[in-house]
């Protein structure tokens, strides 16, 4: 059984505009992917593709006017989207760890690192004594590579560098021994060398503890180096997914190909770039959403594309995938 299976997730922003007309922005249009225990999935796509929104939808953290209108997110056999809020709250931070992209502002500025780690453990495991929780907090800091963890428990968030703060966030995400970790752009805003350290750490800890992880990123390099599986998102859909090796060796969707061609280490001056912006979410076209930007678009593309299965568990949502 999959650890997490997201099926046909639709999230819309429904609000009145200035003329008091009800308008719907269809931000997620049928996101589907699955994650096996212990595997690392890279969710990749351009800004506005719906990567973070997918995570927020699954975790029940959407704020109005955003709301999930259809779909399922089955985690360990339970549909997260159908759970009552208290039960979902009990899973968040316990069975599901979350690492976010602005570690320095995501820590409570008025609590010491140790207090925050203890607070989080005792919220989900009331049976822990303060001393037990503190001992585990120190272990966790050591595990994420923070030197002198006992002393660091007494540090304030503002005393940490960005990289250190991100390590603390990882410690917080893992302290309650989750089976699923969601890391939303975990290295944005960090130095390149620190980025590599953080991603190495994330992958190492996930492997060592058998945690399934979703890494949300716009960087194909991160997916290629650190993930087992990849899911490429465009306009609120997963347009291609599969094992990293297959997907990078034989990208099937024109959008994936454009993305790969645009990665800096491969960038050639005349290579086709993914130009243009995401489609208007208020008025999505029929058929393939990438049609207007696709260099290969044909008449058939005005019909909704199938999720076409290719070799090795690799699939693309494109009429022309097989031809490629």
């Amino acid at each position: 059984m999959s650890l997490l299976e997201v099926r046909d997730l639709h999230t819309h922003f429904i609000a009145y505009d200035l003329d008091n007309r009800l308008r719907t922005a269809r931000a997620l249009n049928g996101v589907s992917f699955s994650l096996e225990p212990g595997r690392i999935l890279g969710l990749v796509g351009e800004t506005g593709a719906g990567k973070s929104l997918t995570a927020l939808s699954i975790l029940g953290l959407l704020k109005p006017p955003a709301r999930v209108v259809a779909g399922q997110a089955v985690f360990e056999g339970r549909d997260l989207l159908a759970l009552p809020p208290e039960e979902l709250n009990a899973l968040r931070g316990a069975r599901i760890g979350l690492v976010v992209q602005s570690p320095k502002t995501s820590l409570d500025p008025l609590a010491r690192i140790g207090q925050q780690l203890v607070r989080l453990q005792r919220a989900h495991r009331p049976e822990f004594s303060a001393a037990q929780a503190e001992a585990r907090a120190a272990e966790m800091l050591a595990a994420v590579g923070i030197p002198d963890p006992k002393r660091r428990l007494r540090a304030w968030p503002h005393e940490l560098s960005g990289g250190m703060a991100q390590r603390v966030l990882i410690a917080m995400a893992l302290v309650n021994e989750p089976s699923l970790l969601i890391a939303d752009e975990p290295t944005t805003g960090l130095d390149v060398t620190v980025q590599a350290q953080i991603l190495d750490l994330l992958r190492g800890l996930a492997r060592q503890r058998g945690i399934g992880a979703v890494i949300i990123t716009h960087d194909l390099g991160v997916v290629a180096h650190y993930c087992d599986e990849a899911a490429v998102m465009f306009a609120g859909q997963v347009v291609e997914h599969g094992p990293v090796s297959a997907l990078f060796a034989r990208p099937a969707h024109p959008y994936t190909r454009a993305l790969i061609a645009a990665t800096p280490e491969r960038l050639q001056l005349r290579a086709p770039r993914p130009s243009g912006s995401p489609p208007n979410l208020y008025a999505l076209p029929e058929g393939c959403l990438y049609r207007d930007r696709c260099p290969m678009a044909q008449d058939v593309c005005t019909r909704p594309p199938p999720d076409l299965a290719l070799r090795d568990g690799h699939a693309a949502r494109c009429h022309l995938a097989e031809a490629a």
């Binding site: 899973l91 968040r92 316990a94 500025p109 989080l120």
Partner: protein
């Protein structure tokens, strides 16, 4: 950490205080001096001869250049001599210190009550922006904002004394029928309670109710508005979002919001306290309170230079002290404010 850090901080602050107070006193000295009234003519009276005028002028050092006058004044101020009131002929310092506790009492109870009500209301309003509670509290806060101080005080007397007769008349700090208690703190209420004079204590408390309520209303309006804005900002912060994403229980999240809102709220209440000293003068006037506000206001009307200068200087000193206390509180609440 704190004790030593705070000690060092207070020392640095005390050193900085000196130039600040000199600057403030220069400003109020000049302002009064630019007022255009000639104290010599007023003092010497309409029948004085030119020679008499000259003598008074020399006695008051008013024949010297303004900067020299300032230095003379400053020297005296430093030795605790704020001059004499030209109306009562008593030392200004004595006059002010006699009246200061009355004003301080009014102000502290009023703003204290305003904060006690305003902060929880602001926090509650922020929990559900545009909800019913928020709408009502915003309306009341706007009402409080736009009500003129003196009108509020007059209406309070009109309704609660004249119409309903629930409150005593606005004639000072204690009923005329009751002997004031012997002075210990300068507050009739506390002095009466310390001396066990329950009748006097009851009367002093009754006199306090209306003016304290007026100040509470005036101070609560901006405190509600500000607390709500601060709490909304905290609620929208990354760390609250992350706390929710980690499944922290609602009570724990509320505690985080409260603690993180407190630093700016405390600072704001401090500013209110310092700012309302002036407004209190109007309340004192209506209730014939006899504090320094009323005294200072009278001095301005009557052109009593030395008193006005002393009054302004005392207000400046009060503000500085309030901000000092606020800074210490912020240091205790906010780890980032502590310098190594």
């Amino acid at each position: 950490m704190p004790a030593r850090a705070i000690g060092g901080f207070l020392l640095r602050r005390a050193v900085l205080l000196v130039p600040l107070l000199v600057a403030v006193s220069f400003l109020c000295f000049m302002l009064v001096r630019l007022g255009g009234q000639d104290p010599v003519a007023m003092l010497a009276g309409p029948t004085a001869t030119a020679a008499e005028l000259e003598m008074v002028r020399r006695n008051l050092a008013l024949d010297q250049p303004v900067w020299a006058q300032f230095l003379v004044w400053l020297g005296k101020v430093l030795s605790g001599d704020l001059g004499r009131s030209w109306i009562s002929n008593r030392p200004v310092l004595t006059e002010l210190l006699d009246r200061a506790p009355a004003t301080l009492e009014l102000l502290l109870y009023g703003v204290g009550l305003g904060a006690l009500v305003g902060i929880p209301v602001g926090l509650k309003a922020a929990q559900k922006p545009d909800g019913a509670f928020d709408q009502v509290s915003r309306f009341l806060s706007l009402l409080g904002f736009s009500t003129p101080t003196y009108w509020l005080a007059l209406m309070a007397l009109f309704v609660f004394f004249y119409l309903l007769a629930w409150a005593p008349p606005g004639m000072g700090r204690i009923s005329l029928m009751v002997d004031p208690p012997p002075r210990i703190t300068g507050s009739y209420l506390w002095d009466a309670m310390l001396g066990g004079q329950w009748e006097a204590a009851r009367s002093a408390a009754a006199q306090l109710v209306l003016p304290v309520l007026c100040i509470a209303i005036i101070s609560a309006a901006p405190i509600v508005k500000q607390t709500r804005a601060i709490a909304l900002e905290v609620l929208a912060s990354d760390y609250i979002r992350y706390a929710r994403a980690q499944g922290l229980p609602a009570g724990e999240v509320r505690r985080m919001v409260l603690r993180n809102s407190m630093v700016p709220v405390v600072t704001f209440v401090g500013t209110e306290l310092a700012g309302l000293v002036g407004t209190t003068a109007l309340i004192e006037y209506v209730f014939a309170w006899g504090g320094i506000g009323q005294f200072g206001l009278n001095a301005i009307i009557q052109g009593d230079f030395a008193v006005v200068q002393g009054y302004v200087l005392l207000l400046a000193l009060f503000s500085v002290l309030v901000f000092l206390v606020v800074d210490v509180l912020v240091m205790l609440l906010e780890p980032r404010a502590v310098r190594a």
